[in-house]
Symmetry: C2
Subunit: 214 residues, 2 copies
DNA sequence: CCACCTTTTGAGAGCTACTCTCATTTACGA
DNA sequence: TCGTAAATGAGAGTAGCTCTCAAAAGGTGG
């Protein structure tokens, strides 16, 4: 059961959703309503110009309830459910693969899934993240929280070094760096979404080669 | 006057400070007072637990004045004046040097200066930055706009590539990564202050070699 | 030394993100 | 159908941050 590749992890989530108890279904519905109305309002009139009160009114809930679903206003844009999926896909890669190769394969698998879900919402979130500094900073931080630990663990495993090895850590930080470079190039519109996987591939190759730029 | 090495760029700033008109001197004095009292209070009782009002009271100014000197509470910790100095020192390196070698030389020059200035303040700022998520996120964002922009510029110069070259950007992000790795290793006590320069050197070497960890 | 102009400051009102408490309502299980 | 646990709403309160306006302090020409 754990050796099969997670071909459509997102679809599985969707299926599971339907046979949930009423209470849980309502919660998910409310959560989605908040997120949809928030993204619409942010896009229409700007992030800073939209108050939580407005979002609450549009989603027909109270401001109190808003903060029960999203601890901060930023979380409405930043939160995504792809981190555990990515971790799962990463761990499912063949043990023989070098860390960088495993990373490449992971991104080749997960990117199409992300975009197949809800392209409009993904695009809106991307635009906002690129434009609003606070959101950009938070996204970076959450990328780091979600990815850095996994990278450290897997790379320590594959190199046979301890997890707090300083060289491993330097490597994972550099990895995170080139991934962020790719993300920003995408957010700024300098890399098309269709080329993102190739661009990540290219950056990882550069890293492995010690950046021969001259 | 521009070809001589900036042996003690910080000292020059200090000299310049003394023959400033009274108004400017007072401003700098107020600024420093705010920062000193803020860092002390943050260290004593925590960042979130310290209000701007408390800082203002300790520095004997009004809360209004606080926000005239620092646009946000976070800026008291995040703001530094080292980016232009770093750029200057980097540019003064021999043109024949490879980018990584130039960087290593730059850090060998600038680190002693940074630490000679006010070790306690620097350490307090680093600690807070490492511990408080909001500050970490903001520091990353300010690194992106400050240090990263400078690195991009000077490395584009040395490699003869355009500034928005994607490969240059991947490189600078990886550079920032290994520098942050060194910073966190220092903050965690895994690298002594006297070894910091050597550790940065080592990380940069690893980066240049493509991280041969196996 | 005085008068004039500019810059800096303080006081206070106001907005909004966010927290906490408590009473009310709503889904679930027996 | 009733009792329990969870979800919600209302409201008060805190703190970061903005804006305005009048008072104070620094700099300058006579």
């Amino acid at each position: 059961m754990s050796t099969s590749l997670p071909e459509h992890a997102i679809d599985r989530l969707q299926d599971r959703l339907e046979r949930l108890p009423l209470r849980e279904r309502k919660k998910l519905k409310t959560r989605r309503a908040i997120q949809d109305h928030a993204l619409r309002l942010f896009t229409e009139q700007g992030y800073d110009e939209t108050t939580v009160e407005q979002i609450a009114e549009a989603a027909e809930i109270s401001p109190s309830t808003f903060f029960r679903y999203f601890p901060t206003k930023e979380d409405v844009v930043v939160t995504d459910e792809y981190d555990p999926i990515m971790a799962e896909i990463f761990r499912a890669q063949p043990a023989g693969l070098a860390p960088i190769e495993a990373l490449r394969a992971t991104f080749r698998e997960i990117l199409p899934q992300m975009l197949a879900g809800d392209l409009d919402a993904v695009t809106a979130r991307m635009r906002l993240t690129a434009q609003v500094p606070a959101l950009r900073a938070r996204t970076t931080e959450s990328l780091r929280e979600g990815t850095h630990a996994v990278l450290k663990e897997v790379i320590a495993e594959r190199t046979g070094r301890p997890q707090d090895d300083l060289d491993v850590e330097a490597f994972t930080w550099a990895l995170l760096g080139v991934l962020q470079a790719a993300m920003y190039a995408w957010l700024d519109g300098r890399v098309a979404i269709d080329d993102l996987t190739d661009h990540i591939d290219h950056n990882l190759e550069l890293l492995a080669a010690g950046f021969p730029l001259c």
